[in-house]
């Protein structure tokens, strides 16, 4: 699910950097105050383990394919959400630098899609409420905890992966990269990640149950008294149902015959008068205000967010014959540079 630089517009990438940066800043602040926070080497070694663990293939019984562990859920269950989040940032940064998985500019978006949901949403809304609930209490303490770990890990992986995949769809659409309609793109991404989430959840659950059996103190909330949670299981169910609705809503756009799902979601779907009430202008396709106009001018001037031109319009650059001839000449220059350096190297060797 790693986004590449090319799939993001700079403005979207910057917004995602700000969002992930804020979450990282808050995490560091919380960890500094926390006496029980895991030590830096523990975080480092655990993230290195997740890094290596993601390279191991686990065979899915009955199929020829294989799955991997889900880093976000595993790290937050072992280290807590804040330390888990920082560890995930580091994993994603090293993956993008050394293994070219992701990109420097897309790092903010990748951190949000994979680390934020996996660690914070996964921990606070799924892991902790389930671990503190009195579910499975008829089975005896250890068996109940194991069952809760399995349930929390599988649900956590599925839901956080769905959220991450949905964010990828939104970010790519906002960047104007794909011609694929919003609904169709979501309908492609979500089911694939449902399957991946299920497999990742089972692998993560297996690892966490093993750790719980041998060293229960390492698993967060494993020793929480049943029924001690602030949120009841009912609340958890409501939250999960709400998340499912949001994602289901995205999928249902697929059914729409309108080619642009985002546009449809903004205008077509709303009640009459919705656009006016919300200050939306269908002609301008956005909020019209003097600030917005000014922002538009600045954007035009800096042009870091490209003005996506359409075929046939004046600004569809690079379509002329001179553009093609020029491109060929530049490519020739590039080849000449390679040849010149190759010639110099040969001369040096001789």
């Amino acid at each position: 699910m790693h986004m590449a630089d090319a799939l993001l517009a700079p403005a979207v990438a910057a917004a995602m950097y700000v969002a992930s940066g804020t979450a990282a800043g808050t995490s560091i602040h919380t960890l500094r105050k926390d006496e029980q926070a895991p030590s830096v080497p523990t975080m480092a070694v655990t993230s290195a383990l997740v890094f290596a663990g993601q390279m191991i293939n686990f065979t899915i019984p009955g199929t020829g394919s294989s799955g991997h562990i889900c880093g976000g859920m595993l790290l937050s269950a072992l280290l807590g959400p804040q330390a888990g989040f920082l560890s995930m940032i580091v994993i994603l940064a090293i993956q993008c630098l050394f293994f070219a998985d992701g990109g420097l500019m897309a790092l903010g978006a990748n951190v949000w899609n994979m680390a934020f949901y996996g660690c914070f949403v996964g921990y606070y809304l799924i892991w902790r409420p389930i671990m503190r609930s009195s579910m499975f209490s008829s089975k005896g303490e250890n068996a109940a905890t194991r069952a809760k770990i399995v349930l929390a890990a599988i649900l956590g992986c599925i839901i956080t992966l769905q959220l991450g995949a949905f964010s990828v769809v939104i970010e790519t659409q906002l960047s104007g990269i794909t011609e694929l309609p919003f609904g169709a793109f979501a309908a492609l991404m979500q089911p694939i990640h449902l399957a991946i989430g299920l497999v990742e959840g089972i692998v993560t659950a297996a690892v966490l149950v093993f750790v719980y059996n041998s060293r229960p103190e390492l698993v967060r909330e494993a020793k929480a008294a049943p029924g001690s949670g602030k949120r009841s299981v009912k609340t958890v169910v409501v939250i999960i149902a709400a998340a499912a609705l949001v994602i289901g809503g995205g999928l249902s756009l697929f059914a729409s015959s309108n080619p642009d799902g985002l546009e449809w979601a903004l205008f077509g779907n709303a009640e009459e008068g919705y656009s006016e009430n919300m200050g939306l202008d269908e002609d301008d396709f956005g909020v019209s205000s003097s600030v917005a106009d000014k922002a538009g001018e600045i954007q035009e001037a800096t042009s870091f967010l490209p003005d996506y031109a359409f075929a046939g319009s004046d600004s569809a650059a690079g379509t002329s014959v001179s553009g093609i001839v020029g491109s060929a000449i530049v490519a020739g220059i590039a080849l000449a540079i390679c040849a010149a350096f190759g010639f110099r190297k040969k001369q040096k060797k001789a």
Binding site: A4, I28, P41, S66, G103, G312, A317
Partner: protein, 266 residues
Amino acid sequence: MSEISGQLTQLRQTDSLSSGNSAIHRLHPLAKLVVTIVYIVCTVSFGKYEFSGLVPMVLYPVLLFQITGIPFAAFIKKMRYVLPLVCAIGLFNPLFDKDPLIVLGGLVISGGTVSLITLVIKGILCLSASFLLIATTPFDDICRALRIVRVPSLIVSLMMLTYRYVAVLIGEASVMTDAYKLRAPGQKGIEFKAWGAFLGQLLLRSMDKADRIYGGMQLRGFDGSFSFASLRKARLSDWLYAIILSAVFILLLRFDLSELIGSLFV
């Protein structure tokens, strides 16, 4: 050789490339970091049909590969992660955007085809810029440059330590997978029954290892934050490199060089 040990080789290869001694290797890491970021931002800022404007951006990686002597083959391997996703998303463009954009004699090229090609080139160029940064700058130097731009020390320390242990743990995981494979010939991956124990064992051992490391560090006076050896001061050449290249990229984004050159001949 298993896939995991292949990854380890790749990590070591990038590491050894970064200890080279070309003019680019000797530049200040912050200058290289700034140039890389400006290059990536400019590259992705080209519009989806601005194919000819994008082409001159190829010159930067081409020049850098030549100056540094980094083998191009080392980069090709890196493309296998990112390119499939970029292609998969771009592949739909020719299906949805069929308006003819370029007509060359009898050949009609649709807008979707141009935007697919532009997207793939952007993907390759951004990847090459990041690769050239890491292949010409030791990881510790990148971390120090991150400290200069005020990235929190906890994240930078964590990056440096994790990077050290990634190699150790990939090595251990590789030995374990090889041992497992030898005992389970013809089986692909780890079977269901062993899922928890396989990684769980490694996890427990690693966490114990982390405790011992932390104890060792505390005995040597570790107080929670690393002190970084400061980098050398930026020279005039570093400043010039960063400013001139950034300016060139921004100019290339504003003015279509291919179009200008082409108009001289056509």
